[in-house]
Amino acid sequence: MPKLKIEDLARIRDQARRSTLLREGAGRVKIIVHLGTCGIAAGGRNIMAAVLRELEERNLEDVLVSTSGCAGLCSREPMMTVEVLGQAPVKYVDLTEGKVREIFAEHIVGGRIAERYALAVGSERAM
C-alpha cells in the first residue's frame, strides 16, 4: 500500500462516499422500482437490473434505489417512480430496459420529465 497524499485521501473519500451516502438515506434522486408480485411477474427484476447498470455506467453517486410493493396498477407494470429532491414524484409505466435508459438520460441526468412514458406526476401519499 503506497503512502497516502492529501489528494489520495480526497479520492478515496469520493469513491467510497457513494456507499455511505446511501446509508445516510441522502440523495438527489430516489428511484423506487415496484416489485410486488405483479411487478416481478411483468419483469420488474430486469428493470431493477437495468437501473443498477445505468447507475454504474453513468457513475451516479446521488441516486438512491429502493423497492416497494404493488402500486395498485398491475396492468401497467413494470413501473418505477422517480423522485427528484424537491419535486413531485413521477410514475413511469410499461417499462422496458430501453425506456429505462432514456429516462435516465432525460430525467435523472437531464432534469426533464420523459412525459411520453409517465403515467402521472405526483402520487398519493403513503402514511
Binding site: 430516489k30 437501473v51 429502493s66
Partner: protein, 619 residues
C-alpha cells in the same frame, strides 16, 4: 455494480452475545440463495445503541429498523422486504403503548432525541474498513489541522470549544493540551485512556468497536498540537472486540501512511502502540495507568506533579479519555463556535451515557449536555417497565451518587445561563458537570442506572462499596481500611444487626475516607453511601430499627408467610411450595391452607418463585 440496499447488521458486544453473527450468516446465505448478492450488501457495524432490542439491523437507504432477529426470521425478511419490497412489519419495533410498529429508525423515540458527535459514525460504517471512515470525511480534520492550522491555533480552537474531559473529572481539554505543550522535557507522550472499569459502563468500549479511527484521528490532531511523536492506547484485556478493532484500525492507518513518519507529507511523525490493561478499576486513574504502561504495578501516586509535567517515563504526557479524543475531529472540522453552541453554559457539546437498570430502553445514548433527566429516562428510555414507581437514578458509577425521585416537594435551585435563579423539580434539571455535583452526584464517565421502587438503596450502596472496596489498591490506609469498615457496617445493616451508632459511624468514616485518600478511587468511593444516607435515611432506619427492608430486597430481613385464603381458594392447597422448600419448613394438606414454620424457614425465597397463585407473601 453499486448495491441498492445496505443491511447494517449490528455486531457490537451486546448483539454479538445475542448471536447477531448467526443472523448475519443466515442473511448472507439467504441473499446468495435468492441471487441478490449483487444488489444487497451486508455490512457489519459496531453498537447501534439500542442494545435492549438486539440483535438488530438497519436496512438503508430507507432506514428500516429490524429488531430481536433470529436466524429463523431471515428467509421471511428477505422474501418480504427484498423480493416483494414490503418491509416486514412483524420484525419491527413497537413501543409499549404504541398501536403499531415504527418502520424507520429515525422515527423511534429512542433515537429521535439523540445528537451524535462522538458516535457520529455509529451504525453507518464498517469499523474494520478505513475507507468507510474516510468516506464520512474521516481524516479531513487531520488534513485541516496539518495544512491550515498551527499547533497554537489547534489548542486555541479546542479551548474555545469548551470541550471537557469525558473520563470523569471534566477538566478543560484545551487547557491540558497547552500545559503539556508548554511543559519542558522531550519526548512528549499522548495516552488514550480506555480502561473503563465501572460496572455497567460501555461507552468507550463502544467507540472503539464502532468507530476506532475517530480515536486515532483525534490523537493525531493532539499529537500535532502538543508536539508528541508517540501515543499509547490503553485498553482492557477483557474487551476483546474493542482491542481487535483498534488494532486493525492502527494497522490500516499505518499502511495508508496516516501513522508513521512524515504523515501526509506534512513532516508530522506519530505512531500509536496498544497496552492491554489487566482489568483493575484503579488502573483507570491516570497515574496508576501510567505506572501500568511502564510495566510497574498499577498503583496510583500522589499528584502533583501531574502527568502533564511528569507522566509516562517521567515526560510530559497528555492523557485523555476515549470519548474526549473522539470529539476532537468534529471540533476541528466544524469549529469551536459550532461546538460551543451545543450544551449548557459551562458544559459544552454532548455526552454519551449508558442507560441501564429499570428502564425500558436500555442502551447507549449520546445527548446534548443540558438534557433533563426526565427526557433521558422517559423520552429516550421509555420510562420504567411495569407499573413500578421511579425511585432514583444513580450517575457516575461507583464514584457517583444516587439522586432521588422524591424531590418533588423540595425543588432544587437552578441557575439559568443568564444568571436567573429558579426552583426546579430535579427531573427537569439540565444535566451537566456542575448540576450533578450540586445534587451530590457526579457525571463520572456516563453510567446512568435507573432504579424503581423494588430497589433497596442500602443494598445499592453496599453493592457499589463492595466493588470499590475490592478494587482498592491498598496503597493508602484510609481507603484500604475505611472502605472495609464501611462495608462491614453495611453488611450488618442489611442483615438486620445494625445500630443507629453504626449509621453515624458510617457517615463519619465516609467523610474521612473522602477527604484523606490518596487517589480518586478512595476520594469518591463513599459517594454512593453518603448520598443514599442523605436522601434515603428512612430506608437505613427501617433496616436498623424495624428490621425491615422496605423494598423487600434484603433477604435476611424478610419474613415469609402464606395467605391462607389465596392458598385454598385459588391454589386449592396445591402443595408445590411444600415439595420445593429445601428446608421442609412448609406444612399443609391438599385443599387445606399451607403454613410456613418461621423457626425452620431459611428465607431462601423458593416458595415465592414456585407458587403459581402468588399466595406467598414477603414482608
Amino acid at each position: 455494480m453499486p448495491y441498492r440496499v445496505h443491511c447494517m447488521v449490528c455486531a457490537g458486544t451486546g448483539c454479538v452475545s445475542n448471536r447477531s453473527l448467526d443472523v448475519r450468516e443466515a442473511l448472507e446465505r439467504e441473499i446468495r440463495k435468492r441471487g441478490l448478492q449483487e444488489e444487497i450488501q451486508v455490512v457489519t457495524t459496531g453498537c447501534n445503541g439500542f442494545c435492549a432490542v438486539g440483535p438488530l439491523m438497519v436496512v438503508q437507504p430507507d432506514g428500516i429498523f429490524y429488531q430481536q432477529l433470529t436466524p429463523k426470521d431471515i428467509p421471511y425478511l428477505v422474501e418480504e422486504h427484498f423480493i416483494k419490497g414490503r418491509p416486514a412489519q412483524k420484525l419491527m419495533y413497537t413501543p409499549p403503548e404504541a398501536p403499531s410498529p415504527i418502520p424507520r429508525m429515525s422515527d423511534i423515540p429512542f433515537f429521535k432525541h439523540q445528537r451524535l458527535i462522538a458516535l457520529r459514525n455509529r451504525g453507518l460504517i464498517d469499523p474494520e474498513k478505513i475507507e468507510d471512515y474516510i468516506a464520512r470525511d474521516g481524516y479531513q480534520a487531520l488534513v485541516k489541522a496539518l495544512t491550515r492550522m498551527t499547533p497554537e491555533q489547534i489548542i486555541e480552537e479546542i479551548t474555545r470549544s469548551g470541550l471537557r474531559g469525558r473520563g470523569g473529572a471534566g477538566f478543560p481539554t484545551g487547557v491540558k493540551w497547552r500545559k503539556v505543550r508548554e511543559a519542558s522535557g522531550e519526548p512528549k507522550y499522548i495516552i488514550c485512556n480506555g480502561d473503563e472499569g465501572d460496572p455497567g459502563a460501555f461507552m468507550d468500549r463502544s467507540i472503539f468497536e464502532s468507530d476506532p479511527h475517530s480515536v486515532i484521528e483525534g490523537m493525531l490532531i493532539g499529537a500535532r498540537a502538543i508536539g508528541a511523536r508517540h501515543g499509547v492506547v490503553y485498553i482492557r484485556n477483557e474487551y476483546p472486540l474493542a482491542l481487535e478493532r483498534i488494532q486493525i484500525a492502527i494497522q490500516q492507518a499505518r499502511e495508508y501512511g496516516l501513522l508513521g513518519e512524515n504523515i501526509l507529507d506534512s513532516g508530522l511523525d506519530f505512531d500509536i502502540s496498544v497496552t492491554r490493561g489487566a482489568g483493575a478499576f484503579v488502573c483507570g486513574e491516570e497515574t496508576a495507568l501510567i505506572a501500568s504502561v511502564e510495566g510497574r504495578l498499577g498503583d496510583p501516586r500522589a499528584r502533583p506533579p501531574y502527568p502533564s509535567e511528569y507522566g509516562l517515563w517521567g515526560k510530559p504526557t497528555c492523557i485523555n479519555n476515549v470519548e474526549t479524543w473522539a470529539n476532537v475531529p468534529p471540533i476541528i472540522m466544524h469549529g469551536a463556535d459550532w461546538y460551543s453552541q451545543i450544551g449548557t453554559e459551562r458544559s459544552k457539546g454532548t455526552k454519551v451515557f449508558s442507560l441501564v437498570g429499570k428502564v425500558r430502553n436500555t442502551g447507549l445514548v449520546e445527548v446534548p449536555m443540558g438534557i433533563t433527566l426526565r427526557e433521558l429516562i422517559y423520552d429516550i428510555g421509555g420510562g420504567i417497565p411495569g407499573d413500578k414507581k421511579f425511585k432514583a437514578v444513580q450517575t457516575g458509577g461507583p464514584s457517583g451518587g444516587c439522586i432521588p425521585a422524591g424531590m418533588m416537594d423540595q425543588p432544587i435551585e437552578y441557575v439559568a445561563p443568564d444568571g436567573k435563579r429558579e426552583a426546579r423539580d430535579y427531573l427537569d434539571l439540565p444535566i451537566d458537570y456542575e448540576s450533578l455535583t450540586d445534587v451530590g452526584s457526579m457525571m463520572g464517565s456516563g453510567g446512568l442506572v435507573v432504579m424503581d421502587e423494588d430497589t433497596c438503596m442500602v443494598d445499592v450502596a453496599r453493592y457499589f462499596l463492595a466493588f470499590t472496596q475490592d478494587e482498592s489498591c491498598g496503597a493508602c490506609t484510609p481507603c484500604r481500611e475505611g472502605t472495609k469498615l464501611m462495608l462491614d457496617i453495611l453488611n450488618r445493616i442489611v442483615e438486620g444487626h445494625g445500630t443507629m451508632d453504626d449509621l453515624r459511624a458510617l457517615e463519619e468514616i465516609g467523610w474521612v475516607v473522602k477527604q484523606t485518600s490518596l487517589c480518586g478511587l478512595g476520594k469518591t468511593a463513599p459517594n454512593p453511601v453518603l448520598t443514599t444516607i442523605k436522601y434515603f435515611r428512612d430506608e437505613y432506619v427501617a433496616h436498623i430499627e424495624a428490621h425491615k427492608c422496605p423494598a423487600r430486597v434484603c433477604r435476611e430481613l424478610n419474613t415469609y408467610r402464606i395467605d391462607p385464603v389465596i392458598c385454598v381458594e385459588r391454589g386449592h392447597g396445591c402443595g408445590v411450595c411444600r415439595r420445593e422448600c429445601p428446608e421442609k419448613a412448609i406444612f399443609g394438606e391438599k385443599n387445606q391452607p399451607h403454613r410456613i414454620d418461621p423457626a425452620l424457614c431459611k428465607k431462601c425465597g423458593v416458595c415465592v418463585d414456585v407458587c403459581h397463585f402468588n399466595a406467598v407473601i414477603v414482608e
